[in-house]
Amino acid sequence: MKPNKKRKKMGRGKTIFYWSILAFPLLQFIIFYVGVNLNSFALAFQKFDYSGNGYTFVGFENLFQNFLDVFKEFQEAKYLQTAVWNSVLVFILGLVIGLSLGLLFSYYIYKKCALSKFYKTILFLPYIISSITLVIIYKYFVEQAVPEVVLKLFNIEMDGLLSNQNTEFGAILFFTIWTGFGVQTLIYSSSMSGISNEIVEAAKMDGITPLKEFLFIDIPIIAPTISVFVVSSVATLFVNQMNLFNFYGAEAPYGIYTIGYYIYRGVSAAGTTLSDYPYYAAFGLVMTMITIPITLIVRKVMNKLDPNEG
């Protein structure tokens, strides 16, 4: 009996300890994740009452009023349709160019080729330098220095890349992809360093070329890591601001809006009032509902493509 009693007592002590250290994290999660998302859902069915009652239920007759406002805005405001297209374009180009170059750079670092340590640091720089600092430098560089370089080298006068409507979107898109290699390169090269030497050596004895080794050995082995990266990128499809707030604050030209920028700008801009929040909550909810199935489909596809699965 005695040892049992002792075990029971120890168990209780452990249980108290367990719950006491988890109490705050769980409470935080309940309030700031569950609560906020429930609140976001509720806010989408509310309106702001200026007579002092704060947010109140819109009523059953106007239940979907905020959502109708969202769809109406989508129908009437061409820039919102463009924003969807821009968001998708940023995502696809970021994935195609960013992922393929990111993987190739990772391969180079993993193979410890010439200057790989230096290149690793350079690729990582945009991660440690704040995006606002990079944006300011880039903004003035492409506006002031690039036209000067072109003039000196080719004797051609040109506008800054951001002042010219034809090059503005491309210049920002380039910047977004250009600064996005850092962390993914580190993650992929780290995953590649886990590849067994025996596999690579055996393939080399069979005369495999570096390109084939990259395509048919390295990529399939790190497929799970690539899958996690792709799925989490899809999850940010309508969150990505493409650095527009950094470049323009709340004044970005309508034609280059992304959905992520539209929402952040809407909530943070100086003119936003409490009565605007329900509209943006409904807008966020609609976008979440669109993104969830896309994320799940991409996840399923990535799992099917993963040679390590099943």
């Binding site: 002590g13 452990k14 367990y18 250290i21 988890l22 994290p25 999660f29 309030i31 700031f32 906020v36 998302n37 609140n39 806010l43 391969y107 193979k111 080729c113 010439a114 290149y119 350079i122 690729l123 990582f124 720089l125 440690i128 330098i129 704040s130 606002i132 600092t133 300011i136 430098i137 003035y140 560089f141 220095a145 000196k152 962390v183 993650i187 992929y188 995953s191 080399k204 070329t209 570096p210 990259f214 799925v231 989490s232 999850a235 309508f238 004044e251 992520g260 929402i263 952040y264 909530v267 943070s268 929040y277 329900p278 943006y280 909550a281 966020g284 976008m287 979440t288 969830i292 994320t295």
Partner: protein, 291 residues
């Protein structure tokens, strides 16, 4: 291996990476030389080296770096040192809570896997990483206002004190990998669970803890959008930089002054990176482990 290093693929990658490096270093170098030019020198000579190196630009930026902030009904101006203090309090507090909470949550779930809540928490972390939440800012502001935490430093620290995300997985893997011998020996000697955690287990993962703290520190130092939304009365240096870059009505709105502002904000991060680059670039890859 030698064959690898001279393959066409590697030569091609070397060339692309060289171009990338130049495209990254050249604007930085341009920003540095611009930051020590006088305005007329810059206008005459956008690309070249300065006629005269003007280091006073940095002192001028520090002196006139001001951002308005609403405190109650009054508008006050925060200067460089006030913003520096705001930054240290915001970044230090948020980095600490954003590292400590995933760490102790991971400790509890890794140490007591038999508890149902442990597997529920692990599942929550995995699922929430895959669920995209778009535009919950209004609800979060509303929630903070209801709790009386909006626009307070403590509010932002609590807001960031969540266990979600990949660093929970990093700590969980670290605690799982530790031998149980240490904690069991201490328990036999009569140490309490709290003592085992704080005196034995947490020190054993101090490297991972420090790395996550550094990563978070860099992240919060660079972020100005969240303070803009949730802490508008205490502008940080990054926010200040955003403000002066979009505001022409001040002493420091010239390009050389703005570049000097960028260099000033860069210095602490470059120092941290220089000292801890191995930690930052080495251990961050732990996040690549599939959960």
């Amino acid at each position: 291996m030698k064959k690898n290093k001279i393959s066409i693929l590697n030569i091609l990658l070397f060339a692309i990476l060289a171009i990338y490096s130049i495209s990254m270093i050249f604007p930085m170098f341009w920003a540095l030389i611009t930051s020590v030019k006088e305005q007329y020198d810059f206008l005459d000579n956008v690309l070249g080296l300065p006629v005269k190196v003007i280091t006073e630009n940095f002192a001028t930026v520090i002196k006139y770096f001001e951002v308005p902030a609403q405190q109650g009904d009054v508008q006050v101006f925060h200067g460089f040192w006030q913003m520096f203090l705001n930054t240290i309090l915001y970044v230090g507090g948020c980095s600490l809570t954003a590292t400590l909470i995933p760490c102790i949550t991971a400790y509890a779930t890794a140490k007591f896997p038999q508890k149902k809540m442990s597997s529920i928490i692990y599942g929550i972390v995995i699922v929430t990483m895959m669920i995209p939440i778009v535009g919950s800012y209004p609800a979060e502001i509303d929630m903070l206002q209801k709790l009386g935490l909006y626009n307070t430093l403590v509010g932002t620290w609590i807001q960031k004190a969540n266990f979600l995300g990949m660093y929970f997985l990093v700590f969980h893997a670290a605690f799982k990998a530790l031998a149980k011998d240490y904690s069991e020996a201490a328990e036999i000697d009569g140490a309490s669970e709290f003592t085992v955690m704080t005196r034995i287990m947490l020190p054993l993962v101090r490297n991972a803890f420090f790395t996550v703290f550094l990563v978070k520190f860099v992240e919060f130092w660079n972020d100005y959008q969240m303070p803009l939304l949730y802490l508008p009365s205490r502008p940080t240096l990054s926010f200040g930089l955003y403000y002066i870059s979009n505001n022409t009505a001040n002493m420091i709105s010239t390009v050389p002054m703005r570049m000097a502002g960028c260099i000033i904000i860069l210095i602490p991060i470059v120092v941290i990176f220089t000292i801890f680059s191995d930690k930052l670039m080495g251990n961050i890859t732990l996040g690549g482990v599939k959960g």
